[in-house]
Point group: C2
Chain length 341, copies 2
Amino acid sequence: MDRPLRILQYGLGPIGQSCAQTILDKQAAGHTALVGAVDVDPEKVGRDVADLLDDDRAPTGIEISDAPQAVLDETDPDVVLHTTTSFLDGVEAQLTQCLEAGAHVVSSTEELSFPYERHPDRAAALDEAARAAGVTLVGTGVNPGYAMDTLPLAATGGCTSVDAVHVQRVVDAGERRGPLQKKVGAGITTESFAEKKAAGGFGHIGLRESLLMVAEGLGWSIDTVEETLQPVTADRRVETPVTTVEAGEVAGIHHAAQGLVDGRACLTLDLKMYVGAEAPRDAVQVEGTPPIDLTVDGGIFGDTATVGMLVNVAALVEEAPAGLRTMMDLPVPRAFGTRPA
Amino acid sequence: MDRPLRILQYGLGPIGQSCAQTILDKQAAGHTALVGAVDVDPEKVGRDVADLLDDDRAPTGIEISDAPQAVLDETDPDVVLHTTTSFLDGVEAQLTQCLEAGAHVVSSTEELSFPYERHPDRAAALDEAARAAGVTLVGTGVNPGYAMDTLPLAATGGCTSVDAVHVQRVVDAGERRGPLQKKVGAGITTESFAEKKAAGGFGHIGLRESLLMVAEGLGWSIDTVEETLQPVTADRRVETPVTTVEAGEVAGIHHAAQGLVDGRACLTLDLKMYVGAEAPRDAVQVEGTPPIDLTVDGGIFGDTATVGMLVNVAALVEEAPAGLRTMMDLPVPRAFGTRPA
């Protein structure tokens, strides 16, 4: 790219702040330009973006605004990095507003990564808005978006036959940022876990989406998707920088999804995120010709990889066909705006 | 895809024959249709394709022809799978003829995978021919095309910074088809190896192309590419189904390429293909944020994965923009026309 990619950062929670840092880092080398920042939090509005970041960065001149339309109009960004929530509920208007302003949108909204089952009507409306504006909308991140969908699909790239695909992700939540530890229930009781589970919206958002994306990518018709969500309990006291989990308390989640064809689990996604996890890893096993036994030892570190995916995909959407897309439709994701050191 | 992908198989050497088998296998399920077959070998011309394959397949009704233009005219294929040689020398006319007939072309020609350095003029001419015809041309296979370029690029998908990428491929040539064992010099003397090396055209074709593709994908400017090619000598007698290598004889090749920036090897590709190789594997190490330590244990078996890549990519080119493309421009490769078993 011979000009900086002009990015508007929409949402400045922990992920959005990391995105802003990465965009500003790449801006120094001419790869990107942070042109605007949007957040609704009154504590953030009106402040310089740099003021929010946990580094000693000089002021950027970009003031956080709670008026997205005004910022879109004033800055005319190439891409909006949208990081506000996991669910499509309530963000459809945010996304549509950006699309109608003529900006590509890369969103961390987990449900957007493959929205066709849970939200077919919203997916159709967003697709139409994106096509009408001639821009691309895609939901991505490390998971969903990469570790348990794009990477497993890529693992089958050389296969002439595939009988089954099994994906495993083990994350040591203790190494991750505080909100994630909270999200997986680290330190709560198993009773509290059961209550949260019964209330819904708990567990990893996007596992079902990843499974459906892999199935679609392989052209497989899944009869049923079965999901299970269970607590992983600590077998010893675990201390992390933000919490302490006593033996017997919940250390995190074990969330699994399997796609059944003729009663057989031909596609399984198994996710464990808990504090004190041993041997964190991402693994893909393809039963097929040739068989593939792929492991990312230590795993793909989610705090940074989510940000990496969002920024790297932002550099790919300009060449993509207009409309609502998934990671399957885009070129092979790769690091953007880096230099050897 | 709701109609079979109509494929012309151009070249019926070992790889082309395997492609034909795979196309015919997928044809039974309605994913593909083998519409024509071309080869110049007088031993093959006029025979039914099935007659050439080492399985007990019934006649296909597809007769091997040495007249590509006539076959193109008669069959109007969606895609030509082109598997005739490793080098662009001499195949430019074959490729252009297919493109001008309005067919997408997926070729195993190693030099075509990233032809911009070795063959800039030919690349430009082929790109122009493909654009003029509104079709896509791409060179791919397991290596180049996947193991040492597309997969390493995909490994950086979630990285916000990349300092260096190191790729390793160790292949047990003894498990591979005879021509590959011969290609790596299994069973020759080290003197003979030195002669072959001096004569040129020896070693793995495409390593340089893979390195340049990864560099381009990362947006890195490499100052110099350094290549080394050395024999791996057998430390014990190794027998394979097609040859025997005595201790001290050449077991295969060790071919390495490194891309230097400011004197530092920030991008290294290390390939060992020899009979009796221990711990065959494909590995990618990304020094960056986050770091990535990816291994395909046992490696990606090349005899089938080359065929897999060719057929799987054939299913992707229809949606790709017209012109000469590389694997970087295409969607994430994944298995096409498989079903869970």
